[in-house]
Each structure stands twice: as structure tokens, then as C-alpha cells.
Amino acid sequence: MAKIKTLADLKKMREDLQSKVDLREKADSPESYVQIKVGMATSGIASGAKDVMDFMIEALEKRNVEAVVTQTGDMGYCFAEPTIEVKKPGEDPIVFGYVNIQKADEIIEKYIKLGELVEGIIPVNYQVIDDK
């Protein structure tokens, strides 16, 4: 490890390192971020949920969206897997079905960034996952 020579170096280093712990920081106040839960039960994984989750984490970071991506169990929408739940700060959560990478990209760009609705919303006569 080379020595840190200036305050600017230190600042840069901090920027680089922040991603290492921002997951934990966000966990402390998830309500102020976009919370995304990816259904990751066995059936979800089989249908590509893992790739979707990897993509979302990477894409959200690249596009500077402050979000918390967590996995969750079976959402009860096996028919529509992979499923993800998106909750924007102060808004009700919305669940999307049949999410592939392309869809995920659309959700980020349209729903999360611009607030536009995207196809594939599963009707909401359900409970918040946490309440189960």
C-alpha cells in the first residue's frame, strides 16, 4: 500500500471505498432510498432472478440511483417470475412480474427515474412483503 500523500488522495480513496459500506449505511435508513426486493426463491433463481438482481445492482450504481437491492423469498407470484418489488420513498410499493434484464432496464429508466408506469405490474391486492 502506497502512502496517502495528500488530502485529495484521501478524498478520492474515500469515494472509491464508499461503495464498500454504503450498503450498510443505506440499511440504516432504507425508507429514504428506492427499495428493490428481488424474489429469489428456488423457482425465482431458476427463472433468472439472480441475473436480474446482479444487473439491477450494477445498473443502479452506474446510473447514480440511490437504491437498496435486497433479495426476498417466494413472493407468491410464481406464475410471473422473476418478480421484483420496487418501493420509492414515500410511495406505495409496486410489484413487477416477468422481469428480465431488458425489463429491469426499463423499470429503472422509466419508473424509477421518471415515475412513468411500465407494463408488467401485478395487480395490488397483496400485502407488503414485510408484513407476512
Binding site: M1, K5, T6, L7, V21, R24, G39, V68, G73, D74
Partner: protein, 597 residues
């Protein structure tokens, strides 16, 4: 760089390690590898989460699930259920004893709700053995700011303005202390960190060192810059092996990164830190004693003045602060004095860390803003008294403090308020007692401690405390007389008035405060020869209730001294002159025929 999706934070404080938290870490890593998840999930051993009662703690980020009392064998289930299937392991979640329901995330626990974590900000959050994580949390930015944007005087002024006062017990304004040390010219000056936490029932400083060692190193460097010192010493108890280990790692890393040593951050500021080990002497918490101990001498205090800021370590100007005080410094510099001095009360700014223990539901380490009341701490954060018993007293300030009662519960905690009610803040031990605790015995317990820890240099502390202890022995032994109370008061006042250092000047406080607040209990012991809490063995008598005794002889058989006699199937009796009050008979009797009075 691997990008982990989930972080598993496992408490690596001494308490949780005592309950095998390192096995938990091992098992987690092993299990993750078994499942091929080692690149997805990061396992981090952090410092103390504070909630020691429920340790070991495992926290899952980012979904913020807080598992309590985790055993190494629970690991498979956590990975299997939570990580793979995304289902919380309900049986490991915290159960709110009042609402009788589980709470998954710490933010919604009473224990954490009222806390503000400043000194403990990184404890339970980062891996204390990894400087990168500290840097990610603005680590060493405060030092950088001082070196590049602030003059030494600016630094002192910031600290003065923040209103920070010493957290080791005395509550002396930190900025003022720094200013004095800065003003004394010398070819060499020293920055000392007092980590010789000796209060029997306090472990704040250790938790900080175990959980966030760099915060202390950074603060010492800032202090050094402000006063013109180049050498730092941390005086740490040898009984704290984990804290020592983490400090050594931290110092090495800081040196490696060039954050300690010469030309720090490209400036001509130079500073390095060495460790000095304490060896088990409470009096070394007193700064002159501490300095003598660091010089290889008996840890005896010397009269102040001269203060360490004028003549300290090796006769050079020395600033001594304790761990918690230092832990506040970087964030004050980063966020500004005005941010800090908005927290707390008029005369006491910021927060205070307490080690909450005793007969309380939520034993642990807490950090609350100054001005929080004792009631909030004990009944909200602490979850009230264990086993539904009645609150009797809370002891603050350790051997230097006093026992406070019900009527003091709404006292907002700060330095002056606690002194006003006959106790003191001390380093932050807070022991809660219930109806089964005898307050005379409690005072005796503390005096026993002081007698053992007195250095022996001055006569009032060396002999006087011994005499106080003897009088308490006499009272708890059933031989007390009313004049003993007068003697206790007079001796206590003189010891306070004449002792050389803080140890003796405060050692009678447990007696004086119990005399003030639990006078009747002394009277019970002296006049009625009764200890209603049932703690003073000499004041107890074991009886057989004839009606209940069936003559099963179980008690006679278990009695180690043959004090119980009686025919089979007839009522037994206990000879009080032989009985040693071990309580074995009472425990053995299935018929509730033996009672203690």
C-alpha cells in the same frame, strides 16, 4: 473488486466473542463457501453493537435484519433461509417483551430508539481491522481538514466551541485542556490516551477501541497537531487483549497508509503512537498516576499543580484524555462545533456512552444525548427491571459515584445534575439494582474495591477507607450501633476533604449517597438487625415452619454442617448457632417448610 450484495455483520466485541461469535463468523464463511456464495455475501466482524444482553448479534445488510443470541449452529439456517430463500429466521429475531412481538430491525427496538451514536458511530458498523472501511466512513478526513484548512488554534477553538467535556469522569472542558497544553512551550510534548478503564462495570472505552480504533488514533493526531506534539501514547489495560490487538493492527495500518509517521498527508506534520500497558491499578485512571505508570513507576498520584499540561510524561507538557473523549473529536471537526453543541444540554454537549448493567432487561452499551433522563435510560432503553421486580436504585459513576433512587429518575443526565443529587457521571458505568439488593452491602462492595485499589500514598485513603469498610462490615454483620452512622459520615467527609487524588476524594460517595437515600436501610441493619433484601447472611435466620414440615429429612441430609435435627416424619428444626446460612436446605425442601427471616 468484488461487489457484495449482502453484508453479514457479526458482533466481535468481547462480550459476544465470549459467546463464540468468532465461531459464528467461521461457520458463516464456511457455509457461504459451501453454497458458493462467498462472492455474494460478505461476512464482517465488527465492534460492539451494544445490545450485549442479546448477544451474539448478527445483522444482515441491506435488509437490516437483526438476529439476536445467535449460536454457531444457527448459521446453516440463516444462510439457508435468509440468504438463499430470503426468509427471515423468526426465532432469532428480537422479541419486544412489552408488545410480545418480534422486531426485525434494530431501529424499531426500544433499546435503540432513543440512542444517538456519535462516539459509537462506527461500532457495529465497520470492520475495525480494516482501515479502508474507516476511510469509507470519512475516516481521517477530519485530520486532513485540520492539516490543510485549519491552524492549530482553529482546532482548539473548534473543540472549545463544541463544548465537549472530558468523558473520563471529571468533565473538564476538553478544548481548554488542549489550549493549556498548546500554550506551554517545550521541545517535546505528548498526547496520551487514557484507556485504563478501571471502573468495575464499565466497558465503554474498550468497546470503542475494539470497534473503532482509528477514531481514537485520528483524534490523537488532531490533538497533537493542535498542541504541537509529535508523540502519542495509549495507556491501555493489559486485561483488554482484543482491544490491544485491534489497536496494534490499526496503528500498523495507519503507518502503512502514511496517516501516522512523518509528513502526514504531504504536510510537515509528524506524529506517531505507541502503546503502554497498564497492569491492574484503578488509581492509574488518575492522570498523574497514569503518567508515572507510563514512566515505569508505581502508579502513585502526585499533587496538582503542576498539571500534566505543564509537566507531564517525562516532565514534558502532556495532554491526557480518555478514549470516549477522543472518539468524539473527528466528527466534531467534520461536522463542526455547531452541529455538536446542538446536541445535549446547556452545560453538557453531545452524548454519553453508558455501560448499562445489573438487574435490567437490556444489558448493554448505549449512547444517549446528554439530558436524557435516568428513567428513559432504565425503563425505555434498558427495558425495565429483570424478572418483573421493583426498581430500587441505580448506581452511576462506579466507585466514585452514588446510588440514586426512584425520586431521581427524572433527572436529566449530565455532569452537574448528577453531582447535585450526590452521584457523578464517572466514566459511564450504570448499574441498576432491584429490591433484592441491599444498599449497605452495595456501599460495602464499593469500599472493598477502593480499599483494594487505594495506592497507599495518603493516609486518609490508605487507612480511612479501610476503617469505613470495617464499620460497614460491622453493620452488615449485625453488630452495628447508632454511633457508627455518625462515624461513617465524619470519616467520609474527612476522607473526601483531605485525600490526595480523585480516588480518595470520591471513594466515600457510595456511603454518603446510600446514607442519604437509604437511611432506613441502615437503621434496619443497626436497630432491627435485619437485612430486608436478604443479602446480609449474618442477619438472616433459617427457620422450619412446623406445619409445612413432613419430616422427609432431605434438609438434614443436605446440610453441610449438621445444623438440622429431627426424627423421621416429624418436624425438623435448625440450630441457629451451627447454621452457616448456606441456603442448601431451603433449596432442597419441596414443601416450602424452610424460610429465611
Amino acid at each position: 473488486m468484488t461487489k457484495y450484495k449482502t453484508h453479514l455483520l457479526v458482533c466481535g466485541g468481547t462480550g459476544c466473542r465470549a459467546s463464540a461469535s468468532d465461531d459464528i463468523v467461521e461457520n458463516l464463511k464456511q457455509e457461504l463457501e459451501n453454497k458458493g456464495l462467498q462472492d455474494e455475501v460478505q461476512v464482517v466482524m465488527t465492534g460492539c453493537f451494544g445490545f450485549c444482553e442479546k448477544g451474539p448479534i448478527v445483522k444482515v445488510s441491506p435488509d437490516n435484519t437483526f438476529y439476536t443470541q445467535v449460536k454457531p449452529e444457527d448459521v446453516t439456517e440463516i444462510i439457508e433461509e435468509h440468504i438463499i430463500k430470503g426468509r427471515q429466521v423468526t426465532r432469532l429475531l428480537y422479541k419486544d417483551p412489552k408488545k410480545k412481538e418480534t422486531v426485525a430491525d434494530s431501529k424499531h427496538m426500544d433499546f435503540y430508539k432513543k440512542q444517538i451514536r456519535i462516539a459509537l458511530r462506527n461500532c457495529g458498523f465497520i470492520d475495525p481491522e480494516n482501515l479502508d472501511e474507516y476511510i469509507a466512513r470519512d475516516g481521517y478526513m477530519a485530520l486532513g481538514k485540520c492539516l490543510s484548512e485549519m491552524s492549530p488554534k482553529d482546532v482548539v477553538d473548534q473543540i472549545k466551541e463544541s463544548g465537549l467535556r472530558g468523558r473520563g469522569g471529571g468533565g473538564f472542558p476538553t478544548g481548554l485542556k488542549w489550549e493549556i497544553a498548546a500554550k506551554n512551550e517545550a521541545d517535546q510534548k505528548y498526547v496520551v490516551c487514557n484507556a485504563d478503564e478501571g471502573d468495575p462495570g464499565a466497558f465503554m472505552d474498550r468497546s470503542i477501541l475494539e470497534g473503532d480504533p482509528h477514531a481514537v488514533l485520528e483524534a490523537m493526531a488532531i490533538c497533537a497537531y493542535s498542541m504541537g506534539a509529535t508523540k502519542g501514547l495509549i495507556y491501555i489495560r493489559a486485561e483488554y487483549p482484543l482491544a490491544i490487538k485491534r489497536l496494534i493492527i490499526a496503528i500498523d495500518q495507519a503507518r502503512e497508509y502514511g496517516l501516522l509517521g512523518k509528513e502526514i498527508l504531504g504536510t510537515d506534520f509528524e506524529f506517531d503512537i505507541e502503546l503502554r500497558y497498564g497492569a491492574g491499578a484503578f488509581v492509574c485512571g488518575e492522570e498523574t498516576s497514569l503518567i508515572h505508570s507510563m514512566e515505569g513507576l508505581r502508579g502513585e498520584p502526585t499533587i496538582k499543580p503542576p498539571y500534566p499540561a505543564e509537566k507531564g510524561y517525562l516532565g514534558k507538557p502532556t495532554n491526557v484524555n480518555n478514549v470516549e473523549t477522543y472518539a468524539n473529536i473527528p466528527i466534531i471537526i467534520n461536522k463542526g462545533a455547531n452541529w455538536f453543541n446542538k446536541i445535549g444540554t446547556e452545560k453538557a454537549k453531545g452524548t454519553k456512552v453508558f455501560a448499562l448493567a445489573g438487574k435490567i432487561n437490556n444489558v448493554g452499551l448505549i449512547e444517549v444525548p446528554m439530558g436524557t433522563t435516568l428513567r428513559e435510560v432504565i425503563f425505555e432503553i434498558g427495558g425495565g427491571i429483570k424478572d418483573g421486580k421493583k426498581f430500587k436504585a441505580v448506581q452511576t459513576g462506579g466507585p466514585s459515584g452514588g446510588c440514586l433512587t426512584e425520586k431521581h429518575l427524572d433527572t436529566p443526565i449530565d455532569f452537574d445534575n448528577l453531582i447535585a443529587v450526590g452521584s457523578m457521571m464517572g466514566s459511564g458505568g450504570m448499574i441498576v439494582m432491584d429490591e433484592d439488593d441491599c444498599m449497605v452491602s452495595m456501599a460495602k462492595f464499593y469500599l472493598e474495591f477502593t480499599v483494594e485499589e487505594s495506592c497507599g500514598k495518603c493516609s486518609p485513603c490508605r487507612i480511612g477507607n479501610k476503617r469505613l469498610h470495617e464499620v460497614l462490615e460491622k453493620i452488615t454483620g449485625g453488630k452495628g450501633e447508632m454511633e457508627d452512622i455518625q462515624r461513617l459520615r465524619n470519616m467520609s467527609n474527612v476522607i473526601k476533604d483531605t485525600s490526595l487524588c480523585g480516588l480518595g476524594q470520591t471513594s466515600p460517595n457510595p456511603i454518603l449517597s446510600t446514607l442519604d437515600n437509604f437511611y432506613d436501610e441502615y437503621l434496619d441493619h443497626i436497630n432491627d438487625k435485619k437485612c430486608h433484601a436478604g443479602q446480609c447472611k449474618d442477619l438472616m435466620t433459617y427457620f422450619v415452619i412446623e406445619e409445612n414440615c413432613v419430616g422427609c429429612t432431605a434438609c438434614a441430609r443436605v446440610c453441610p454442617v449438621g445444623a438440622i435435627a429431627g426424627e423421621k416424619k416429624q418436624s425438623h428444626f435448625i440450630d441457629p448457632s451451627i447454621c452457616i446460612k448456606c441456603g442448601a436446605c431451603e433449596e432442597r425442601c419441596k414443601f416450602d417448610a424452610i424460610i429465611v427471616k
